[in-house]
Symmetry: C2
DNA sequence: TGATGTCCTGACCGATCGGTCGGTCGGGAC
DNA sequence: GTCCCGACCGACCGATCGGTCAGGACATCA
């Protein structure tokens, strides 16, 4: 399935491709990667097939050789993004350590992950925002539920052990934690212009502050 | 400046316009309203001038009579949205009442407001997400800063009065509160598919839960 | 050597895009 | 009356859109 030899054409590609996907020898893989970038940056309607082909140093026709329609390419990109997204954050919440430390670690790892995979994250978020009805139901159960359910279970468990007061809603807590990170991710470039906000370029510090806030609350005791 | 008489054309418009903007007699106002809907639903690139004109029951040429370019129409829509956005939530945090009640009220009013003006909110959020650099700097200072700074000041003040522990960062707190509402707004349709999340269709209850959580924290005392 | 299949290409298609142009129409000003 | 003006329109433009098609380059297998 893999290409046997880097042909003369592939050598030319390595010279002309302007992205970070030069290492991908397969035209199809290069298309997927470049399309992900393009769709994430400009959206579906704002991205032309010709632009994707140019990024991948291929002709527009070749795009339609690998994918029947533009929409099919888009869905393939989304599918790959979801697959990549779902295989992380699996080991943070399991160890036997203080509750607040686990929450802090989860929050830090989560924000680091979405910042590392920013193109893909933006794509998934954009997809989650619009259709919402039938199409993206599986998207939710695959991506959002993965993080969400893991957090909810963890909080519920801690609640059953008496480590968290009974009155809090685990699902609301989980959503608040995720919201903070997603909002930071979506608007991080613009947060720099906010006066009094000092975490704009320090995601880790932000995640720590949020988890500390959620854990102790505004009127809690023993801040440290 | 206002139209003197509803001409025969205006009467025809009232019949054919399929939106909720039939009451707007001025073609320009109708264009702005319909363009806001269209841009919010399909984005800038996904919305054609012809589609906007059709919604407003006008010809495409008339759009260019009122606005020099499609981009100018888009900016006019954004500008109007920002102006509408900035003149709310002014009186919630001023009264002399318990801190937790004020926070709860703010959170409830804020989420109600963005849900009521969903098209416009979506437009502003979408604009905030992308450019981020020079273009939308004023957008931030106008919209986000308006809510943000008000909240930060309020929390800082309460902190100075000893009502909030010193260790919390007011700006992080404000951002967490806003994040929760924005995330709920952006993904509310999809949250229904989340198991264990019971607030998907109860924004007020969600806002109350969030403010309660932020105020008391996970390990706080006296839940009620 | 020829047949076959994959990858890729340039030329081309109809449709639609944003935008222009010339012109119609009705209502004040005088 | 007639003059002007803003609102509005149909027809049209070049450019670009997504997508098609016939065929070339090349590797594999017979």
């Amino acid at each position: 399935m893999a290409m046997p030899t880097p042909t003369e054409h592939a050598a030319k590609v390595a010279d002309t491709a302007q992205d970070t996907h030069e290492a991908l020898v397969s035209g199809r893989d290069r298309l997927l990667a470049c399309a992900a970038d393009a769709f994430a940056q400009r959206g579906y309607a704002g991205t032309s097939v010709a632009a994707i082909a140019e990024r991948a140093a291929l002709s527009k026709s070749t795009v339609f050789h690998h994918f029947p329609t533009k929409r099919a390419l888009y869905l393939a990109v989304i599918e790959k993004a979801v697959a990549d997204f779902s295989q992380t954050l699996d080991s943070v919440l399991d160890e036997a350590r203080p509750l607040d430390r686990q929450l802090e670690d989860y929050q830090c790892q989560h924000i680091a992950h979405i910042l590392d995979n920013d193109q893909v994250t933006q794509l998934v978020l954009r997809e989650l925002q619009k259709n919402a009805s039938k199409d993206s139901a599986h998207l939710v159960s695959d991506v959002l539920s993965a993080n969400f359910q893991r957090l909810v279970d963890f909080i519920s468990q801690a609640q059953n052990h008496g480590l968290i007061r009974d009155h809090v809603d685990p699902s609301v807590t989980a959503l608040t934690l995720i919201s903070a990170n997603v909002f930071y991710f979506q608007h991080r470039k613009v947060l720099r212009y906010l006066p009094n906000f000092t975490c704009a370029d320090q995601p880790r510090r932000y995640a720590q502050s949020v988890s500390e806030l959620i854990f102790h609350g505004l009127n809690g005791e023993h801040p440290q």
